[in-house]
Protein backbone atom coordinates (compact mmCIF):
# COMPACT_ATOMS: atom_id res chain seq x y z
CA UNK A 1 0.00 0.00 0.00
CA UNK A 2 1.37 3.40 -1.02
CA UNK A 3 1.83 5.46 2.13
CA UNK A 4 3.76 8.33 0.55
CA UNK A 5 2.99 11.88 1.66
CA UNK A 6 0.48 13.49 -0.73
CA UNK A 7 1.78 17.02 -0.49
CA UNK A 8 5.40 17.98 -0.01
CA UNK A 9 5.38 20.41 2.89
CA UNK A 10 7.20 21.24 6.04
CA UNK A 11 4.68 21.46 8.86
CA UNK A 12 4.78 22.25 12.53
CA UNK A 13 1.25 20.95 13.12
CA UNK A 14 1.64 17.22 13.06
CA UNK A 15 3.43 14.19 11.79
CA UNK A 16 2.22 10.67 11.24
CA UNK A 17 4.42 7.60 11.22
CA UNK A 18 3.54 3.94 11.14
CA UNK A 19 3.75 4.03 14.91
CA UNK A 20 1.88 7.17 15.92
CA UNK A 21 0.22 10.46 15.05
CA UNK A 22 1.81 13.39 16.83
CA UNK A 23 0.23 16.85 17.01
CA UNK A 24 2.36 19.74 18.22
CA UNK A 25 4.59 17.21 19.96
CA UNK A 26 1.82 15.25 21.70
CA UNK A 27 0.91 11.71 20.68
CA UNK A 28 -2.84 11.99 20.00
CA UNK A 29 -3.54 8.59 21.48
CA UNK A 30 -1.76 9.58 24.70
CA UNK A 31 -3.85 12.75 24.92
CA UNK A 32 -7.06 10.76 24.58
CA UNK A 33 -5.89 8.04 26.95
CA UNK A 34 -4.99 10.62 29.59
CA UNK A 35 -8.59 11.85 29.54
CA UNK A 36 -8.20 15.21 27.87
CA UNK A 37 -11.28 16.49 26.09
CA UNK A 38 -11.65 17.36 22.44
CA UNK A 39 -11.67 21.02 23.42
CA UNK A 40 -8.30 20.49 25.13
CA UNK A 41 -7.07 19.05 21.85
CA UNK A 42 -8.19 22.17 19.99
CA UNK A 43 -5.84 24.21 22.19
CA UNK A 44 -3.07 21.80 21.31
CA UNK A 45 -3.89 22.02 17.61
CA UNK A 46 -4.07 25.78 17.30
CA UNK A 47 -1.86 26.93 20.16
CA UNK A 48 0.45 24.03 20.88
CA UNK A 49 -0.42 24.07 24.56
CA UNK A 50 -2.52 22.32 27.18
CA UNK A 51 -5.12 24.81 28.47
CA UNK A 52 -6.08 25.50 32.09
CA UNK A 53 -9.24 23.79 33.33
CA UNK A 54 -11.08 27.12 33.19
CA UNK A 55 -10.01 27.70 29.61
CA UNK A 56 -11.16 24.24 28.63
CA UNK A 57 -14.50 24.82 30.35
CA UNK A 58 -14.95 28.11 28.51
CA UNK A 59 -14.31 26.48 25.16
CA UNK A 60 -16.70 23.63 26.01
CA UNK A 61 -19.36 26.19 26.90
CA UNK A 62 -18.88 28.19 23.77
CA UNK A 63 -18.68 25.35 21.27
CA UNK A 64 -21.64 23.56 22.82
CA UNK A 65 -23.62 26.78 22.78
CA UNK A 66 -22.72 27.59 19.18
CA UNK A 67 -23.29 24.11 17.74
CA UNK A 68 -27.02 24.40 17.06
CA UNK A 69 -28.79 27.50 15.80
CA UNK A 70 -31.84 26.03 14.10
CA UNK A 71 -32.73 27.82 10.86
CA UNK A 72 -29.80 30.04 10.01
CA UNK A 73 -28.00 30.34 6.65
CA UNK A 74 -25.78 27.37 7.54
CA UNK A 75 -28.62 24.93 8.29
CA UNK A 76 -30.66 26.24 5.35
CA UNK A 77 -27.65 25.73 3.09
CA UNK A 78 -27.13 22.16 4.23
CA UNK A 79 -30.85 21.38 3.87
CA UNK A 80 -31.02 22.86 0.38
CA UNK A 81 -27.97 20.97 -0.80
CA UNK A 82 -29.12 17.63 0.59
CA UNK A 83 -32.45 18.03 -1.25
CA UNK A 84 -30.55 16.96 -4.38
CA UNK A 85 -29.27 13.88 -2.49
CA UNK A 86 -25.54 14.26 -2.99
CA UNK A 87 -23.20 12.59 -0.51
CA UNK A 88 -23.73 13.93 3.00
CA UNK A 89 -20.34 15.72 3.17
CA UNK A 90 -21.41 17.99 0.30
CA UNK A 91 -24.29 19.31 2.41
CA UNK A 92 -22.15 19.65 5.52
CA UNK A 93 -19.41 21.46 3.60
CA UNK A 94 -22.01 23.80 2.11
CA UNK A 95 -23.30 24.55 5.60
CA UNK A 96 -19.84 25.42 6.84
CA UNK A 97 -19.12 27.47 3.75
CA UNK A 98 -22.14 29.72 4.33
CA UNK A 99 -20.11 31.44 7.01
CA UNK A 100 -18.94 34.68 5.50
CA UNK A 101 -19.03 38.37 6.14
CA UNK A 102 -22.61 38.40 7.49
CA UNK A 103 -23.15 34.97 9.04
CA UNK A 104 -20.52 34.54 11.74
CA UNK A 105 -18.45 37.29 10.15
CA UNK A 106 -15.13 35.68 9.75
CA UNK A 107 -12.04 36.62 11.55
CA UNK A 108 -12.86 40.29 11.15
CA UNK A 109 -14.05 40.92 14.70
CA UNK A 110 -10.91 39.31 16.11
CA UNK A 111 -8.69 41.40 13.91
CA UNK A 112 -10.60 44.52 14.90
CA UNK A 113 -10.01 43.75 18.59
CA UNK A 114 -6.32 43.02 18.05
CA UNK A 115 -5.80 46.11 15.95
CA UNK A 116 -7.33 48.38 18.53
CA UNK A 117 -5.58 46.84 21.49
CA UNK A 118 -2.34 47.46 19.66
CA UNK A 119 -3.49 50.96 18.83
CA UNK A 120 -4.12 51.68 22.52
CA UNK A 121 -0.56 50.57 23.20
CA UNK A 122 0.89 52.70 20.43
CA UNK A 123 -1.16 55.78 21.29
CA UNK A 124 -0.64 55.39 25.04
CA UNK A 125 -4.38 55.16 25.70
CA UNK A 126 -6.34 52.95 28.04
CA UNK A 127 -8.45 50.13 26.65
CA UNK A 128 -11.56 52.02 27.72
CA UNK A 129 -10.44 55.18 25.93
CA UNK A 130 -9.70 53.34 22.72
CA UNK A 131 -12.97 51.37 22.93
CA UNK A 132 -15.02 54.56 23.02
CA UNK A 133 -12.93 56.10 20.29
CA UNK A 134 -13.37 53.10 17.99
CA UNK A 135 -17.15 53.13 18.37
CA UNK A 136 -17.25 56.88 17.75
CA UNK A 137 -15.16 56.47 14.64
CA UNK A 138 -17.38 53.71 13.28
CA UNK A 139 -20.63 55.49 14.09
CA UNK A 140 -19.45 58.90 12.90
CA UNK A 141 -18.54 57.30 9.59
CA UNK A 142 -21.96 55.61 9.41
CA UNK A 143 -20.38 52.17 9.66
CA UNK A 144 -21.72 49.16 11.52
CA UNK A 145 -20.04 48.26 14.78
CA UNK A 146 -19.03 44.61 14.63
CA UNK A 147 -20.44 42.21 17.18
CA UNK A 148 -23.72 43.98 17.79
CA UNK A 149 -27.27 42.90 16.94
CA UNK A 150 -28.80 39.75 15.45
CA UNK A 151 -31.55 39.76 12.82
CA UNK A 152 -33.61 36.97 14.42
CA UNK A 153 -32.98 37.55 18.13
CA UNK A 154 -34.13 41.12 18.08
CA UNK A 155 -34.10 41.48 21.88
CA UNK A 156 -30.55 40.16 22.09
CA UNK A 157 -29.11 36.79 21.16
CA UNK A 158 -29.97 34.42 24.03
CA UNK A 159 -26.47 32.94 23.85
CA UNK A 160 -24.45 36.12 23.85
CA UNK A 161 -24.75 37.76 27.26
CA UNK A 162 -24.55 34.42 29.12
CA UNK A 163 -21.33 33.78 27.17
CA UNK A 164 -19.93 37.12 28.35
CA UNK A 165 -20.89 36.29 31.94
CA UNK A 166 -19.34 32.83 31.72
CA UNK A 167 -16.26 34.42 30.17
CA UNK A 168 -15.93 36.83 33.09
CA UNK A 169 -16.60 34.05 35.60
CA UNK A 170 -14.00 31.66 34.16
CA UNK A 171 -11.38 33.94 32.65
CA UNK A 172 -11.82 37.13 34.69
CA UNK A 173 -13.11 40.60 33.88
CA UNK A 174 -9.80 42.34 33.52
CA UNK A 175 -8.38 41.11 30.23
CA UNK A 176 -7.89 43.55 27.39
CA UNK A 177 -10.34 41.71 25.18
CA UNK A 178 -13.35 41.64 27.47
CA UNK A 179 -12.71 45.20 28.62
CA UNK A 180 -12.49 46.46 25.05
CA UNK A 181 -15.59 44.57 23.96
CA UNK A 182 -17.64 45.64 27.00
CA UNK A 183 -16.56 49.27 26.54
CA UNK A 184 -17.58 49.18 22.90
CA UNK A 185 -21.00 47.74 23.74
CA UNK A 186 -21.62 50.42 26.38
CA UNK A 187 -20.47 53.25 24.14
CA UNK A 188 -22.46 51.93 21.20
CA UNK A 189 -25.69 51.97 23.17
CA UNK A 190 -24.96 55.31 24.85
CA UNK A 191 -24.70 56.81 21.38
CA UNK A 192 -27.82 55.07 20.19
CA UNK A 193 -29.73 56.27 23.26
CA UNK A 194 -28.63 59.85 22.60
CA UNK A 195 -29.85 59.49 19.04
CA UNK A 196 -33.20 58.19 20.31
CA UNK A 197 -32.55 54.72 18.91
CA UNK A 198 -33.32 51.41 20.58
CA UNK A 199 -30.92 49.27 22.58
CA UNK A 200 -28.98 46.68 20.57
CA UNK A 201 -27.35 43.83 22.44
CA UNK A 202 -24.08 42.09 21.79
CA UNK A 203 -24.28 39.12 19.42
CA UNK A 204 -22.40 35.82 19.38
CA UNK A 205 -19.58 37.28 17.34
CA UNK A 206 -19.09 40.01 19.90
CA UNK A 207 -19.38 37.70 22.89
CA UNK A 208 -18.05 34.45 21.48
CA UNK A 209 -15.15 35.86 19.56
CA UNK A 210 -14.04 37.93 22.53
CA UNK A 211 -13.91 34.77 24.63
CA UNK A 212 -12.03 32.89 21.91
CA UNK A 213 -9.54 35.74 21.61
CA UNK A 214 -9.07 35.70 25.37
CA UNK A 215 -8.54 31.96 25.16
CA UNK A 216 -5.59 32.67 22.89
CA UNK A 217 -7.04 31.72 19.53
CA UNK A 218 -6.02 33.78 16.53
CA UNK A 219 -8.84 35.43 14.57
CA UNK A 220 -8.76 32.68 11.95
CA UNK A 221 -8.49 29.86 14.48
CA UNK A 222 -11.47 31.37 16.31
CA UNK A 223 -13.42 31.57 13.09
CA UNK A 224 -12.56 27.99 12.31
CA UNK A 225 -13.78 26.83 15.71
CA UNK A 226 -17.05 28.71 15.29
CA UNK A 227 -17.98 27.73 11.77
CA UNK A 228 -16.75 24.15 11.95
CA UNK A 229 -18.62 23.57 15.22
CA UNK A 230 -21.81 24.59 13.44
CA UNK A 231 -21.00 21.88 10.90
CA UNK A 232 -22.18 19.26 13.41
CA UNK A 233 -25.71 20.60 13.47
CA UNK A 234 -25.64 21.15 9.71
CA UNK A 235 -25.00 17.42 9.42
CA UNK A 236 -27.95 16.72 11.74
CA UNK A 237 -30.32 18.96 9.77
CA UNK A 238 -29.15 17.48 6.48
CA UNK A 239 -29.59 13.95 7.78
CA UNK A 240 -33.05 14.66 9.13
CA UNK A 241 -34.02 16.05 5.73
CA UNK A 242 -32.41 13.11 3.94
CA UNK A 243 -34.05 10.46 6.09
CA UNK A 244 -37.43 12.01 6.76
CA UNK A 245 -37.97 14.53 4.01
CA UNK A 246 -38.63 14.32 0.30
CA UNK A 247 -35.77 14.59 -2.15
CA UNK A 248 -36.03 17.58 -4.49
CA UNK A 249 -38.27 19.38 -1.96
CA UNK A 250 -40.96 20.00 -4.56
CA UNK A 251 -43.37 17.09 -4.26
CA UNK A 252 -47.04 17.86 -4.87
CA UNK A 253 -47.97 14.83 -2.79
CA UNK A 254 -46.86 16.37 0.48
CA UNK A 255 -49.60 18.03 2.57
CA UNK A 256 -47.40 21.08 2.99
CA UNK A 257 -46.15 23.24 0.13
CA UNK A 258 -42.48 22.28 -0.25
CA UNK A 259 -39.46 24.56 -0.17
CA UNK A 260 -38.92 24.32 -3.94
CA UNK A 261 -42.58 24.17 -5.00
CA UNK A 262 -43.12 26.26 -8.10
CA UNK A 263 -45.57 28.46 -6.24
CA UNK A 264 -42.74 29.60 -3.97
CA UNK A 265 -41.24 31.58 -6.84
CA UNK A 266 -41.93 35.28 -6.97
CA UNK A 267 -40.41 36.76 -10.09
CA UNK A 268 -39.65 40.45 -10.28
CA UNK A 269 -37.36 40.52 -13.31
CA UNK A 270 -37.95 41.79 -16.87
CA UNK A 271 -41.32 40.98 -18.45
CA UNK A 272 -41.46 37.87 -20.64
CA UNK A 273 -40.21 38.84 -24.09
CA UNK A 274 -39.79 37.23 -27.48
CA UNK A 275 -36.51 35.59 -28.38
CA UNK A 276 -35.12 37.41 -31.44
CA UNK A 277 -34.23 35.25 -34.41
CA UNK A 278 -30.55 34.87 -35.23
CA UNK A 279 -31.12 37.09 -38.27
CA UNK A 280 -32.40 39.85 -36.01
CA UNK A 281 -29.75 39.29 -33.41
CA UNK A 282 -27.13 41.92 -34.23
CA UNK A 283 -29.61 44.74 -34.63
CA UNK A 284 -31.55 43.67 -31.57
CA UNK A 285 -28.44 43.31 -29.43
CA UNK A 286 -27.03 46.66 -30.55
CA UNK A 287 -30.25 48.44 -29.66
CA UNK A 288 -30.51 46.65 -26.33
CA UNK A 289 -27.00 47.68 -25.43
CA UNK A 290 -27.58 51.30 -26.49
CA UNK A 291 -30.82 51.62 -24.60
CA UNK A 292 -29.06 50.40 -21.48
CA UNK A 293 -32.23 49.22 -19.74
CA UNK A 294 -30.47 45.93 -19.07
CA UNK A 295 -28.18 47.69 -16.60
CA UNK A 296 -31.10 47.83 -14.20
CA UNK A 297 -31.02 44.05 -14.05
CA UNK A 298 -27.34 43.32 -14.49
CA UNK A 299 -25.75 41.91 -11.34
Amino acid sequence: MDREQILNRKTSISYKSEEETVVRGYNLSDLAEEGYSFCDALFVLFQGRIPTEEEEKMLEYETAEFLEHSMSPSAAGAISVISGRPNLPAAVAAGIMTFGSAHGPGAAHGYMLNQNIDRAREEGKSIEEIGKQVVDEYMDAGLAVMGMGQPQHTDGDPRAEPTHIKHEELLGEDSVYIRLQRTMETRFNERRQKEGRSYVAVNMIGAGNTALADLGFSPNAAWCIGCVTRGFSCAAHALYTMKKGRAWAASKREPMVQMLDLSMIKYVGPEDREVPSLEERQEYARKQKEQGEYKKWAI
Binding site: M1, I13, F38, N87, L88, G106, H153, C227, F232, L262
Partner: protein, 331 residues
Amino acid sequence: MGNLNDPRLQYDYLNREHGTVEPDDKRERFQWVSEVAYKNVHRIVSRGYDTTELVEAGYGLADLIFVDFQARIPLEEESKMLNYVMIMMLEDGLSPTAAISRIVTKSKTLLTQAAGASVLAFGHAYAAYDAFGKMMNAYLGKVDSKELSLSEAAEQMVKDKLESDALGISSLMLKDPAAGKMLARAEKLGIAGKYTSFIKEAEAAAQKVFSEPVAVDMLGATGAVMLDLGFSPESTWGVLAVTRAYGAGAHYCEEVEREGYTRLGQNLTPKENYDGPEKRPVPTLDERAKFAKPGQAKTPQEWRDIVDERKKLKGSGWSIVEEIDDPKRKI
Protein backbone atom coordinates in the same frame (compact mmCIF):
# COMPACT_ATOMS: atom_id res chain seq x y z
CA MET B 1 -39.53 28.50 -34.13
CA GLY B 2 -36.88 25.79 -34.36
CA ASN B 3 -38.37 22.45 -33.39
CA LEU B 4 -40.94 23.89 -31.01
CA ASN B 5 -43.90 22.95 -33.18
CA ASP B 6 -42.77 19.34 -33.52
CA PRO B 7 -45.86 17.13 -33.01
CA ARG B 8 -43.84 14.73 -30.86
CA LEU B 9 -43.62 17.32 -28.10
CA GLN B 10 -45.83 16.63 -25.11
CA TYR B 11 -47.67 19.95 -25.17
CA ASP B 12 -48.05 23.07 -27.24
CA TYR B 13 -44.75 24.88 -26.86
CA LEU B 14 -45.83 27.84 -28.94
CA ASN B 15 -48.71 28.65 -26.62
CA ARG B 16 -47.26 28.07 -23.18
CA GLU B 17 -48.47 30.20 -20.28
CA HIS B 18 -46.37 33.13 -19.08
CA GLY B 19 -45.85 34.16 -15.48
CA THR B 20 -45.21 32.31 -12.26
CA VAL B 21 -47.39 29.72 -10.58
CA GLU B 22 -50.07 31.11 -8.26
CA PRO B 23 -49.53 30.62 -4.53
CA ASP B 24 -50.86 27.25 -3.46
CA ASP B 25 -53.47 28.02 -0.80
CA LYS B 26 -54.99 24.56 -0.82
CA ARG B 27 -52.08 23.14 1.10
CA GLU B 28 -50.38 24.16 4.33
CA ARG B 29 -47.89 27.00 3.68
CA PHE B 30 -44.21 26.14 3.47
CA GLN B 31 -42.32 26.07 6.75
CA TRP B 32 -38.91 24.78 7.73
CA VAL B 33 -40.08 21.55 9.30
CA SER B 34 -37.55 20.11 11.71
CA GLU B 35 -37.32 17.49 14.42
CA VAL B 36 -33.84 18.73 15.25
CA ALA B 37 -34.18 22.28 16.48
CA TYR B 38 -36.18 25.49 16.59
CA LYS B 39 -35.55 29.00 17.74
CA ASN B 40 -37.58 32.04 18.59
CA VAL B 41 -36.52 35.54 19.50
CA HIS B 42 -35.34 34.47 22.96
CA ARG B 43 -34.49 30.77 22.76
CA ILE B 44 -32.62 28.16 20.75
CA VAL B 45 -33.94 24.68 21.39
CA SER B 46 -32.35 21.44 20.24
CA ARG B 47 -34.43 18.28 20.59
CA GLY B 48 -36.46 19.97 23.30
CA TYR B 49 -33.50 21.26 25.32
CA ASP B 50 -32.76 24.97 25.52
CA THR B 51 -29.12 25.12 24.43
CA THR B 52 -28.22 27.97 26.79
CA GLU B 53 -29.68 26.01 29.70
CA LEU B 54 -27.66 22.98 28.60
CA VAL B 55 -24.33 24.81 28.64
CA GLU B 56 -25.17 26.69 31.83
CA ALA B 57 -25.80 23.30 33.44
CA GLY B 58 -22.28 22.27 32.38
CA TYR B 59 -22.88 20.15 29.31
CA GLY B 60 -20.14 20.32 26.72
CA LEU B 61 -19.54 19.96 23.01
CA ALA B 62 -19.72 16.17 22.89
CA ASP B 63 -22.95 16.21 24.90
CA LEU B 64 -24.53 18.64 22.45
CA ILE B 65 -23.56 16.38 19.57
CA PHE B 66 -25.50 13.56 21.24
CA VAL B 67 -28.47 15.87 21.76
CA ASP B 68 -28.49 17.05 18.16
CA PHE B 69 -28.02 13.66 16.55
CA GLN B 70 -29.65 11.30 19.01
CA ALA B 71 -32.08 13.53 20.93
CA ARG B 72 -30.67 12.36 24.24
CA ILE B 73 -28.30 13.35 27.03
CA PRO B 74 -25.38 10.91 26.92
CA LEU B 75 -23.98 9.02 29.88
CA GLU B 76 -20.74 10.52 31.21
CA GLU B 77 -18.89 7.51 29.82
CA GLU B 78 -20.42 8.06 26.40
CA SER B 79 -19.44 11.70 26.43
CA LYS B 80 -15.90 10.74 27.45
CA MET B 81 -15.73 8.18 24.68
CA LEU B 82 -16.90 10.63 22.05
CA ASN B 83 -14.27 13.11 23.20
CA TYR B 84 -11.69 10.36 22.86
CA VAL B 85 -12.79 9.47 19.33
CA MET B 86 -12.88 13.13 18.29
CA ILE B 87 -9.36 13.74 19.58
CA MET B 88 -8.14 10.80 17.54
CA MET B 89 -9.90 12.14 14.45
CA LEU B 90 -8.67 15.71 14.79
CA GLU B 91 -5.43 15.26 12.87
CA ASP B 92 -3.98 12.77 10.44
CA GLY B 93 -0.86 14.55 9.21
CA LEU B 94 -0.80 15.72 5.60
CA SER B 95 -3.66 13.44 4.65
CA PRO B 96 -6.16 14.16 1.82
CA THR B 97 -8.22 16.40 4.11
CA ALA B 98 -5.23 18.55 5.10
CA ALA B 99 -3.75 18.52 1.60
CA ILE B 100 -6.96 19.64 -0.09
CA SER B 101 -7.57 22.36 2.44
CA ARG B 102 -4.03 23.63 1.80
CA ILE B 103 -4.53 23.54 -1.97
CA VAL B 104 -7.78 25.50 -1.66
CA THR B 105 -6.00 27.92 0.69
CA LYS B 106 -3.35 28.64 -1.92
CA SER B 107 -5.93 30.42 -4.09
CA LYS B 108 -6.45 32.99 -1.28
CA THR B 109 -9.86 31.77 -0.24
CA LEU B 110 -11.80 32.19 2.96
CA LEU B 111 -10.91 29.77 5.74
CA THR B 112 -14.41 28.33 5.50
CA GLN B 113 -13.74 27.18 1.94
CA ALA B 114 -10.65 25.29 3.10
CA ALA B 115 -12.64 23.73 5.95
CA GLY B 116 -15.46 22.84 3.57
CA ALA B 117 -12.99 21.26 1.16
CA SER B 118 -11.67 19.11 4.00
CA VAL B 119 -15.20 17.87 4.71
CA LEU B 120 -15.66 17.12 1.02
CA ALA B 121 -12.58 14.91 1.13
CA PHE B 122 -14.44 12.42 3.33
CA GLY B 123 -15.37 9.85 0.73
CA HIS B 124 -16.03 6.14 0.43
CA ALA B 125 -12.36 5.16 0.72
CA TYR B 126 -10.74 7.77 2.92
CA ALA B 127 -12.91 7.97 6.05
CA ALA B 128 -15.50 5.59 4.62
CA TYR B 129 -17.74 5.72 7.68
CA ASP B 130 -21.00 5.60 5.79
CA ALA B 131 -19.98 2.52 3.80
CA PHE B 132 -18.39 0.89 6.86
CA GLY B 133 -21.44 1.38 9.07
CA LYS B 134 -23.86 0.15 6.45
CA MET B 135 -21.67 -2.90 5.85
CA MET B 136 -21.59 -3.67 9.59
CA ASN B 137 -25.36 -3.27 9.85
CA ALA B 138 -25.97 -5.50 6.84
CA TYR B 139 -23.94 -8.41 8.24
CA LEU B 140 -25.09 -7.95 11.82
CA GLY B 141 -28.61 -8.04 10.39
CA LYS B 142 -27.89 -11.61 9.32
CA VAL B 143 -27.00 -12.38 12.94
CA ASP B 144 -30.15 -10.69 14.25
CA SER B 145 -32.28 -12.70 11.82
CA LYS B 146 -30.47 -15.86 12.98
CA GLU B 147 -29.33 -16.49 9.42
CA LEU B 148 -25.70 -16.62 10.57
CA SER B 149 -23.81 -16.82 13.87
CA LEU B 150 -21.62 -13.85 14.81
CA SER B 151 -18.42 -15.58 13.68
CA GLU B 152 -20.06 -16.83 10.47
CA ALA B 153 -21.27 -13.32 9.67
CA ALA B 154 -17.79 -11.95 10.33
CA GLU B 155 -16.23 -14.55 8.04
CA GLN B 156 -18.79 -13.81 5.36
CA MET B 157 -18.22 -10.07 5.60
CA VAL B 158 -14.45 -10.42 5.32
CA LYS B 159 -14.81 -12.79 2.37
CA ASP B 160 -17.26 -10.50 0.54
CA LYS B 161 -15.42 -7.27 1.33
CA LEU B 162 -11.84 -8.41 1.06
CA GLU B 163 -11.02 -5.71 -1.49
CA SER B 164 -13.22 -3.02 0.03
CA ASP B 165 -11.74 0.29 1.21
CA ALA B 166 -14.34 0.26 3.95
CA LEU B 167 -13.59 -3.04 5.68
CA GLY B 168 -11.91 -1.36 8.66
CA ILE B 169 -9.29 -4.07 8.86
CA SER B 170 -5.96 -3.61 7.10
CA SER B 171 -2.22 -3.46 7.55
CA LEU B 172 -2.31 0.27 8.33
CA MET B 173 -2.12 0.10 12.11
CA LEU B 174 0.21 -2.81 12.72
CA LYS B 175 2.85 -0.64 14.38
CA ASP B 176 0.53 2.00 15.82
CA PRO B 177 -1.43 0.84 18.90
CA ALA B 178 -3.96 3.69 18.73
CA ALA B 179 -6.84 1.71 17.21
CA GLY B 180 -6.42 -1.13 19.69
CA LYS B 181 -6.24 1.32 22.57
CA MET B 182 -9.48 2.93 21.45
CA LEU B 183 -11.29 -0.41 21.46
CA ALA B 184 -9.82 -1.17 24.89
CA ARG B 185 -11.01 2.21 26.17
CA ALA B 186 -14.49 1.50 24.83
CA GLU B 187 -14.50 -1.72 26.80
CA LYS B 188 -13.19 -0.03 29.93
CA LEU B 189 -15.88 2.65 29.75
CA GLY B 190 -18.59 0.09 29.11
CA ILE B 191 -19.28 1.47 25.64
CA ALA B 192 -18.19 -1.57 23.66
CA GLY B 193 -21.21 -3.38 22.32
CA LYS B 194 -22.18 -5.49 19.38
CA TYR B 195 -20.23 -3.45 16.84
CA THR B 196 -16.97 -3.61 18.78
CA SER B 197 -17.44 -7.35 19.27
CA PHE B 198 -18.21 -7.77 15.59
CA ILE B 199 -15.18 -5.87 14.31
CA LYS B 200 -13.01 -8.02 16.58
CA GLU B 201 -14.61 -11.16 15.17
CA ALA B 202 -13.99 -9.79 11.71
CA GLU B 203 -10.37 -9.06 12.61
CA ALA B 204 -9.89 -12.69 13.66
CA ALA B 205 -11.56 -13.87 10.45
CA ALA B 206 -9.44 -11.53 8.33
CA GLN B 207 -6.23 -12.71 9.91
CA LYS B 208 -6.99 -16.19 8.54
CA VAL B 209 -7.77 -14.95 5.04
CA PHE B 210 -5.31 -12.15 4.31
CA SER B 211 -1.86 -13.09 3.07
CA GLU B 212 -0.27 -10.28 5.11
CA PRO B 213 -0.71 -9.40 8.80
CA VAL B 214 -3.79 -7.22 9.39
CA ALA B 215 -5.59 -5.63 12.33
CA VAL B 216 -8.50 -3.33 13.04
CA ASP B 217 -7.50 0.07 11.63
CA MET B 218 -8.66 3.56 12.60
CA LEU B 219 -11.70 3.33 10.33
CA GLY B 220 -12.70 0.07 11.96
CA ALA B 221 -12.06 1.23 15.52
CA THR B 222 -13.65 4.67 15.30
CA GLY B 223 -16.47 3.37 13.14
CA ALA B 224 -17.36 0.51 15.50
CA VAL B 225 -17.14 2.69 18.60
CA MET B 226 -19.28 5.42 17.06
CA LEU B 227 -21.89 2.83 16.11
CA ASP B 228 -21.79 1.46 19.67
CA LEU B 229 -22.29 5.03 20.88
CA GLY B 230 -25.55 5.00 18.95
CA PHE B 231 -24.54 7.09 15.94
CA SER B 232 -25.88 5.94 12.59
CA PRO B 233 -23.40 5.34 9.76
CA GLU B 234 -24.35 8.66 8.20
CA SER B 235 -24.15 10.55 11.50
CA THR B 236 -20.73 9.05 12.13
CA TRP B 237 -19.61 10.23 8.72
CA GLY B 238 -20.90 13.73 9.35
CA VAL B 239 -19.62 14.10 12.92
CA LEU B 240 -16.13 12.86 12.11
CA ALA B 241 -15.83 14.85 8.88
CA VAL B 242 -16.62 18.00 10.85
CA THR B 243 -14.18 16.99 13.59
CA ARG B 244 -11.37 16.77 11.07
CA ALA B 245 -12.26 20.18 9.62
CA TYR B 246 -10.84 21.85 12.74
CA GLY B 247 -7.51 20.34 11.76
CA ALA B 248 -8.01 21.73 8.27
CA GLY B 249 -8.31 25.17 9.83
CA ALA B 250 -4.85 24.84 11.32
CA HIS B 251 -3.49 23.71 7.97
CA TYR B 252 -5.13 26.74 6.33
CA CYS B 253 -3.35 29.03 8.78
CA GLU B 254 0.00 27.34 8.33
CA GLU B 255 -0.27 27.33 4.55
CA VAL B 256 -0.85 31.08 4.56
CA GLU B 257 1.85 31.66 7.14
CA ARG B 258 4.53 29.49 5.52
CA GLU B 259 3.74 29.04 1.85
CA GLY B 260 1.67 31.98 0.58
CA TYR B 261 -0.67 32.14 -2.37
CA THR B 262 -0.63 30.99 -5.99
CA ARG B 263 -1.73 33.10 -8.96
CA LEU B 264 -3.68 31.91 -11.97
CA GLY B 265 -1.24 30.38 -14.43
CA GLN B 266 1.65 30.36 -11.97
CA ASN B 267 2.15 26.63 -11.65
CA LEU B 268 3.88 24.78 -14.44
CA THR B 269 3.45 21.12 -15.28
CA PRO B 270 6.65 19.65 -16.72
CA LYS B 271 6.31 17.98 -20.11
CA GLU B 272 8.07 14.94 -18.62
CA ASN B 273 4.95 14.35 -16.54
CA TYR B 274 2.70 14.35 -19.59
CA ASP B 275 1.90 11.03 -21.26
CA GLY B 276 -1.15 12.01 -23.33
CA PRO B 277 -1.38 12.18 -27.15
CA GLU B 278 1.66 13.62 -28.92
CA LYS B 279 1.48 17.31 -29.74
CA ARG B 280 -0.42 17.74 -33.02
CA PRO B 281 -1.62 20.58 -35.22
CA VAL B 282 -5.18 21.87 -34.76
CA PRO B 283 -7.12 21.21 -38.00
CA THR B 284 -8.69 24.23 -39.64
CA LEU B 285 -12.47 24.47 -39.46
CA ASP B 286 -12.53 23.56 -43.15
CA GLU B 287 -10.66 20.38 -42.40
CA ARG B 288 -12.92 19.53 -39.48
CA ALA B 289 -15.07 16.93 -41.27
CA LYS B 290 -11.94 15.08 -42.32
CA PHE B 291 -10.64 14.81 -38.75
CA ALA B 292 -13.81 14.53 -36.70
CA LYS B 293 -15.09 11.07 -35.83
CA PRO B 294 -18.68 10.72 -34.60
CA GLY B 295 -18.84 9.22 -31.12
CA GLN B 296 -22.20 7.47 -31.31
CA ALA B 297 -22.49 3.70 -31.14
CA LYS B 298 -25.24 1.93 -33.06
CA THR B 299 -24.84 -1.52 -31.54
CA PRO B 300 -23.84 -2.80 -28.09
CA GLN B 301 -20.62 -4.22 -29.56
CA GLU B 302 -19.82 -0.91 -31.18
CA TRP B 303 -20.46 0.76 -27.85
CA ARG B 304 -18.18 -1.72 -26.09
CA ASP B 305 -15.41 -1.07 -28.61
CA ILE B 306 -15.79 2.69 -28.27
CA VAL B 307 -15.78 2.49 -24.47
CA ASP B 308 -12.69 0.27 -24.45
CA GLU B 309 -10.96 2.78 -26.69
CA ARG B 310 -12.06 5.67 -24.51
CA LYS B 311 -10.72 3.92 -21.43
CA LYS B 312 -7.23 4.38 -22.79
CA LEU B 313 -7.58 8.13 -22.29
CA LYS B 314 -7.00 8.71 -18.58
CA GLY B 315 -9.09 11.59 -17.33
CA SER B 316 -12.01 10.64 -19.56
CA GLY B 317 -13.69 8.87 -16.66
CA TRP B 318 -14.43 5.75 -18.67
CA SER B 319 -12.23 3.51 -16.54
CA ILE B 320 -14.16 4.34 -13.39
CA VAL B 321 -17.02 2.09 -12.34
CA GLU B 322 -18.93 3.41 -9.35
CA GLU B 323 -21.41 1.64 -7.18
CA ILE B 324 -24.82 3.09 -7.96
CA ASP B 325 -27.11 3.91 -5.11
CA ASP B 326 -30.51 2.23 -5.12
CA PRO B 327 -32.61 4.61 -7.22
CA LYS B 328 -35.86 3.53 -5.53
CA ARG B 329 -36.14 6.61 -3.39
CA LYS B 330 -39.04 8.86 -2.58
CA ILE B 331 -38.99 11.85 -4.89
